[in-house]
Symmetry: C2
Subunit: 473 residues, 2 copies
Amino acid sequence: MTADADPRDATSELEPEIRDEDGRLASGFVEEVAEAISANDSARVRDLSGRLHESDLGDLIETLGPDDRPKLIELLGKDFDFAALTEIDETVRVQLLEELPPETVAKGMRELDSDDAVYILEDLDEADRARILAQMPALDRVALTRSLDYPEDSAGRRMQTEFVAAPPFWTVGHTIDYIADTDGLPDTFYEIFVVDPAHKLLGSVPLDRLLRTRRSRLLSEILEENPRTIRATEDQEQAARMFERYNLVSAAVVDDAGRLVGVLMVDDILDVIEEEADEDLRALGGVTGDEEISDPVLYTARSRIFWLLVNLATAFVSASVIGLFEGTIQQMVALAVLMPIVASMGGNAGTQTMTVAVRALATRDLGSHNARRLVRRETLVGLVNGVILAVLVGTFAGGWFQNAQLGLIIGAAMVTNFVCAGLFGILIPLTLDKLKADPAVASGVFLTTVTDTVGFFSFLGLATWWFGIGLGG
Amino acid sequence: MTADADPRDATSELEPEIRDEDGRLASGFVEEVAEAISANDSARVRDLSGRLHESDLGDLIETLGPDDRPKLIELLGKDFDFAALTEIDETVRVQLLEELPPETVAKGMRELDSDDAVYILEDLDEADRARILAQMPALDRVALTRSLDYPEDSAGRRMQTEFVAAPPFWTVGHTIDYIADTDGLPDTFYEIFVVDPAHKLLGSVPLDRLLRTRRSRLLSEILEENPRTIRATEDQEQAARMFERYNLVSAAVVDDAGRLVGVLMVDDILDVIEEEADEDLRALGGVTGDEEISDPVLYTARSRIFWLLVNLATAFVSASVIGLFEGTIQQMVALAVLMPIVASMGGNAGTQTMTVAVRALATRDLGSHNARRLVRRETLVGLVNGVILAVLVGTFAGGWFQNAQLGLIIGAAMVTNFVCAGLFGILIPLTLDKLKADPAVASGVFLTTVTDTVGFFSFLGLATWWFGIGLGG
């Protein structure tokens, strides 16, 4: 009975110990747990972390040293909630699962919802996965294996196979009584799915609607006829778009024949949305692959070098453009001093355009209906800002080297490069998207090639022509 | 009665007309609506778009030309769902609201949940807002004004003030009957809040738990004692982290005295998460402010120029570093050809590190507990990849200019710059975060300054020293 307790007091008693004001795990708390672990003090460990939310427990595991992690699980024993494993980085999870005995893992996994179990199993290699599955009850094993048969990143992988389904001829009252009387319903559900005898989905009834309706009415009278569904083989990102667009908290997953096979929950979708935004962001920053901050040095270095090699090729292309004008530079070293300004400013302007374009493509805000308008807009924005910066840079550069003509030339080169930056900043992602490539991953390197090449070529070329200095060495 | 209909058939009858396979509005559909609008064919307009989901209707409005937008709303008349306005860009929304008569707007807003109404009102200027509020019923006006009094981007602004609350001494059965018998409950709710007579929050009962419990039990016996709550004045991002961490679908919003004042729903949080990731991504791409793809050229140009000006200062700093070595370059033009390679490759490597660091800070994965480890890791990653690329670049450059010493020098400069890139790529965001500045916004420009300066200085400086060429012109 808590009628008199102030829940905020209770929270503030609990929270500050675990997390600091920024929402990170408090270092004092982590140290206390680590100490209890090294003292092998199972009672204290259980006291400190036995009743943590799976998410806090997951963060705790990540924060602990690699040796303390399996020990924590061991000391917690049956108080360890395996759902915490869904909250930690893949690298840490795989490592941990390899160190734990398969029976312990299988036992812990039995308590999990199917989506959590699949999430944990999917990253393991074939052998580890088989070893764990072999220890699971047959029914669970079949369900998990079926989910794992769906392609990676599909709705089928993310769905939960536990749901509440009812036939259309049940009354509201009967359904409510059924829920009250039945054990083994899923832990959490927000709607009842109405299915025919062949398990084809007929519609859904959100719980609030069920509660609002007279007991005598039939489910068939109150069901939502065309609930948003997603096919099990479809990509999870497509599901995420649907959840976002139609403000869903759960959605039925159906097979190709329209039969209900599972349910997607919004908390899993939240993870998908976060992942997706993360991928775009990293891709734009030249970090591809699924690097995590817990990865070791060599693994990280290897995952990043591919991108650096691609950029190296680009860098040599622009170097060779400069190489064309060695003679000009030798006669006017000021050009070498100023040329990076033209190239890098063009790169910055192009990146602004590209960032907007990549994100608009990802959220489906940019498409054939407005592509033309945006290409025009971005080119014009490039022109406007190019002219403004050209005046500034031209004035500075002309003053610096006491050469008004040099100021004019760098200004003209800036305008040229800014217009190209705007134009290609949007055309490159649009083209990659048309070719079904991910614009976030490859746009940057193409764009830099354009802005560097155009920047160096226009500036050095104009100077060579204007000052009448011959090409070559 | 839909017992025999296949919902997937019904969906596929409806969907392909409105959206193409990529999930964008189908251009055929948009054209049809535009034609009906120019023909002033209100019946056809209503036929096509009168029963669209608010999200589809919002996308339709954005896609139509600026003149067609108010016409669509006019032709739809009372079939227009004002919730669609929450789904469109701010620029378009504000424009539209200025063109519509305040009575029409006020009437449409009365149908909305309070969070949607606040979302629409908050972007309007004082005068427009007052004009619309004046037309609303007094009770709604008071609630909306109170929400608007909370700071921008706070939980109080995003919350819905409609919720279901019950006293702790009610039985489950009584609560279920109350819900069935009461009109005017919120459209959607996932939990019942249990409050004391002073409206202090005692706990919450999720609907599925309510349904699973025998009718005779008291709410006080089954309530979740310490539900996750958020203070109305707290930032919406803090709320988003809480939803993500603890997999919530709704959460109580309380005032400073712990009284229940509203509820946050996961669909609004989804928008917050998307916005937040968007902001980080744009900031890293040099797009600050709330630019939208529907903004006009001059507005966009202006919003982007600040960032370009900041970068211009950086560019002049690196130019002046090059200026120190004019004499060296004049005697060995190959240096001018190769120097951008050192600077840009360092920039790329640093950006990789910075991207990972900025994102890890945003998701609270990076904090004081692992900062030291990550600084070491990133520096080592810079060293490893620096050495590999140094060998490649050194070999190429040495071959290109038939000068092995030049190859050695560029190699040494690359290693130096890569180590600095890794080190500063993480130290800069960490420092900005410590100083309570947003690392996503400012890290890039500092980092480029470092990698350009170190790149040019190490390469040209080493060459000057090695080849014994005097400094200056």
